[in-house]
């Protein structure tokens, strides 16, 4: 028998549930989706999620869901490397840890070293905490791709309700999926990350294709939603200019770009704390094996390359948007 013969159990064949999480409405809702899953009751999600010596590589073949109650910090202040889109008070929150998608370059592989996904079912506590923040910018799809989980959790719509009730809080829902339902609010930003199809095929496994992302983006614009287009991360491959150029051609040709609220542009960069684990998990990924330069604790492309990529994308976006609408990595 060789490794090629090993068959893994399907994703989400098993759900671990904290005993405290059993009675939450979101738990029942999620379990409805996984009627045949084996349930294992646990005391604390960290007993599974934080085990030592886990292998993302192995677990990614058979992911498990962990339903838990977050008793710790619910909202965090944003790191300096994140775009704050002109907002002084930038926060992020994670109702889900880890992502059902498998982008080779994802920082979560460095942060967590497990492919299992934690869903915190006490969403009400998050909402209560966020309601106290006052005027701020809150990213809610941070340690995951929240809309990618919405068919199971519908958590995005809970954040949309908060936006409705708290106009002082601007909520950003970022995704590489292609959502079909949107709520148009001035303080609710749907951020679509766009990548050339070749980059999606090669590095962003499981995410929606470019065609589907553009279709979803058009739908959001047609509903009057506030839409952000993120060309971030730009991934270096030999013909990056041609690929990103063609993608922007499509964006301009197929979408009503005048209605796009703003743009985020950045080349791939990652905390140097994470790079070792990511490289271990993705030994054959050119996206993460690239010989980055370490600048101020972040692994980045050589400065000239970063500048060339960001400048090129910015110049192309400038064809259709004012500088005030473009937020760049530097």
């Amino acid at each position: 028998m060789s490794s090629a013969d090993v068959s893994f159990l399907r994703n989400f064949d098993r759900i671990y549930i904290e005993k405290d999480a059993v009675d939450y409405p979101l738990t029942s809702k999620i379990l409805e989706h996984f009627k045949s899953a084996k349930l294992t009751y646990i005391r604390h999600y960290k007993d599974i999620f934080n085990r030592s010596r886990q292998s993302f590589e192995f677990q990614s073949h058979s992911r498990k869901i962990i339903l838990a109650v977050n008793r710790g910090k619910l909202v965090y202040e944003g790191a300096p490397v994140c775009h704050n889109y002109g907002n002084d008070r930038f926060f992020y929150t994670s109702t889900v840890l880890n992502c059902p998608y498998d982008c080779e370059y994802c920082f979560l592989k460095g942060r967590y070293s497990t492919a299992n996904i934690v869903i915190f079912v006490n969403v009400e506590d998050y909402i209560a905490k966020a309601s106290e923040l006052g005027e701020c910018y809150l990213s809610v799809s941070f340690d995951t791709d929240l809309p990618a989980m919405d068919h199971i959790t519908a958590i995005s719509s809970v954040w949309a309700e908060l936006a409705q009730e708290h106009p002082e809080i601007t909520i950003e829902i970022r995704t590489k999926s292609a959502p079909k339902s949107f709520i148009a609010l001035p303080n609710l930003v749907y951020a679509f990350t766009l990548s050339p199809q070749e980059i999606i095929d090669r590095f962003e496994h499981g995410t929606a294709g470019l065609e589907a992302r553009l279709r979803s983006l058009r739908l959001a614009l047609s509903k009057g939603c506030k839409v952000r287009v993120c060309v971030d991360p730009i991934i270096y491959i030999d013909n990056w200019k041609e690929l990103y150029g063609r993608m922007i051609d499509r964006l301009i040709a197929e979408c009503d770009v005048d209605k796009i609220n703003d743009y985020g542009i950045g080349a791939f960069r990652i905390s140097s704390e994470y790079i070792k684990a990511i490289r271990r998990a993705e030994a054959y990924s050119a996206a993460v094996q690239f010989p980055f330069e370490n600048r101020d604790g972040y692994c980045e492309y050589p400065y000239e390359l970063t500048k060339a990529m960001v400048d090129y994308v910015r110049d192309r976006i400038r064809e259709v948007a004012d500088d005030g609408k473009i937020f760049c990595q530097y």
Binding site: S3, S7, R14, I42, R43, F58, S62, A283, P302
Partner: protein, 271 residues
């Protein structure tokens, strides 16, 4: 390497027979360790209870250290609801410490999974829930967690009795394991095949390090460059050949090597 841990000889005998010929490589302090002639399988008889199992597992892993492709199994009888059934354990609860441990259940072995509770005494009062009871599992799992990832060990338990005080003879224990030996060894093969997957670029860095007169940190940089070349499908060997033809390599000294490493890096990324 495959490691099997059993509390008593009558549980281990079917494994010893299966992997025979085996040599007794250690017999000390109540622990017997057998190794197959090909060096690929180890059967350890620990003795009964958590202390004996923890000691035996630690001694075995120290004497014969596991590598990345190693996996370990605790095979034995236990009390449970359905005598004769074989289970793979998905949760190990230590009834003394209250600690809970979770081996990964990733591979399709066809086995039903079940929680096991490890206790320090024989259960006589009968079992009313669909859980398993034994006296070693938590110790085995605790030690494994220190030596390998949770995807690399498993507990395979055959129910011998309902914990009602009925006597399980040595012959009965051997038969119970023997009846399931094909499934047990097939499961071990599945783990072994999965863990054998050493999915890392494999090349000898030394000759390249010499070409660039590398220091330790330069060697690390060179390895990163070669890994990138492999990941991106770039022909780094051809690039080195060209640099040799241009008389840029081998480098004459470390300073020169450093410069050439920069050149190699530039060409690798941008050409």
């Amino acid at each position: 390497m495959l490691y099997f841990f059993c509390a008593i000889r009558c549980e281990a005998q079917p494994l010893i027979d299966h992997y025979w010929p085996m040599d007794l490589v250690m017999s000390k302090g109540g622990v017997d360790i057998y190794m197959s002639e090909d060096g690929q399988s180890v059967v350890c008889i620990s003795g009964i209870g958590k202390t004996d199992m923890a000691y035996a597992a630690a001694v075995t892993f120290s004497l014969l250290p596991p590598d990345d492709s190693s996996c370990a199994f605790n095979v034995g009888i236990c009390a449970g609801y359905k005598p004769g059934s074989l289970y793979i354990v998905d949760k190990v609860s230590d009834c003394d410490s209250g600690r809970e441990l979770y081996p990964d259940i990733l591979y399709d072995t066809g086995l039903e999974s079940m929680e096991i509770r490890t206790v320090s005494r024989v259960i006589n009062e009968g079992i009313t829930e669909d859980v398993l009871y034994d006296m070693e599992s938590s110790a085995f799992a605790e030690v494994c967690m220190r030596y390998m990832g949770p995807e690399k060990f498993a507990l395979l338990k055959v129910v011998s009795d309902k914990g009602e005080g009925s006597v399980v003879t040595e012959g009965m224990a051997t038969d119970l394991i023997n009846n399931k030996i094909d499934i047990i060894t097939k499961t071990a093969s599945i783990y072994q095949a999965a863990c054998a997957k050493a999915d890392k670029p494999d090349y000898d860095l030394d000759p390249y390090s010499e070409l660039f007169c590398c220091s330790a940190s330069m060697s690390r940089e060179l390895r990163a460059l070669i890994n990138y070349a492999i990941a991106d499908g770039k022909d780094y060997e051809d690039l080195i050949k060209v640099m040799k033809e241009e008389a840029k390599l081998p480098a004459s000294c470390r300073k020169d090597g450093k410069e050439m490493l920069g050149e190699f890096r530039r060409r690798l990324i941008f050409t």
